[in-house]
Amino acid sequence: MKFGIVTFPGSNCDYDAHHAVTDQLGAEAVYLWHKAHDLEGADVIILPGGFSYGDYLRSGAIARFSPIMREVAEHARKGGPVVGICNGFQVLCEAGLLPGALLRNDVLQFRGETVIVRVENADTMFTHRYRAGQLLRIPIAHGDGRFTADERTLDRLEGEGHVVFRYADAGGQVTPAANPNGSMRGIAGIVSAEGNVIGLMPHPERAVEPLLGSGDGLALFQSLLARVSA
């Protein structure tokens, strides 16, 4: 089981992702430069957080045209798992691998804090090590995290179980006060229709051991390890 972590110019969570999947998970990982055309045999691709291309034009808009994205899209088309975290989620939306868009936080401020995320669907390759309804403490760090899509798309995402994570309060309720960025319907993470591409704004790779304040993100990578190695 090998993770491929894409480094775009401006990525800054690639090392965190590497630490999470190697030191904490015990899997193998390689960095994949954005100009490369080879996924080096990686089973799972991670598009990490950061500010690829300085967020020029729109977050993720330029990164989606990086040479490696052709291979990433092909990997996804063949059913290969792809994880987009924060900026990686923005890239996946811009690339059309996930529906919707991530817009400027409604509060107009960068939000960097630990939030509570409720698991909505524990029956995906990314979440089967969680329980539905489980509350996770995971950090966020973004200025453009407001998930936006038209009503039909939102209904379809909800109806087909593609909403994987929502922002919630300590009691597990999805409320406007618990929503750090104004995301529609409190959505923090979604999966593709085929179930092999996930995008989420919270950073599970920054919540993989007690030293970091939470280990709640590790099960996402454990879910993948169990499913992909099996």
Binding site: L57, A61, G100, A101, L103, T148, A149, D150
Partner: protein, 85 residues
């Protein structure tokens, strides 16, 4: 082939919350510009494009907007002008 200067307006689509626009509207109200209603903050791009005709230059920029410059999910664009630079 001639060179044309094409300018494009890209704005958040009506109905999609534009917090920047709202913050600007609030500030304008504070300054006493009571008549200001909805404000949308977008981008204005100016592109120099080589094309066979004005129409071709405009068509080319339209395609750029559809494929990269505007987000089809959340933004609308309009060609604001085509001129010789």
């Amino acid at each position: 082939m001639s060179r044309f200067r094409v300018s494009v307006h890209i704005v958040p689509r009506q109905g999609i919350l534009d917090p920047q626009g709202k913050a600007v509207a609030d500030a304008l109200h504070t300054l006493g510009f009571r008549g200001v209603g909805d404000v949308r903050v977008g981008r204005h791009l100016v592109l120099d494009v080589d094309a066979a005709s004005r129409q071709a230059a405009e068509q080319s920029v339209r395609e750029m907007c559809e494929r990269l410059l505007a987000n089809p999910v959340t933004e609308d664009f309009e060609i604001a002008g085509v001129a010789a630079p």
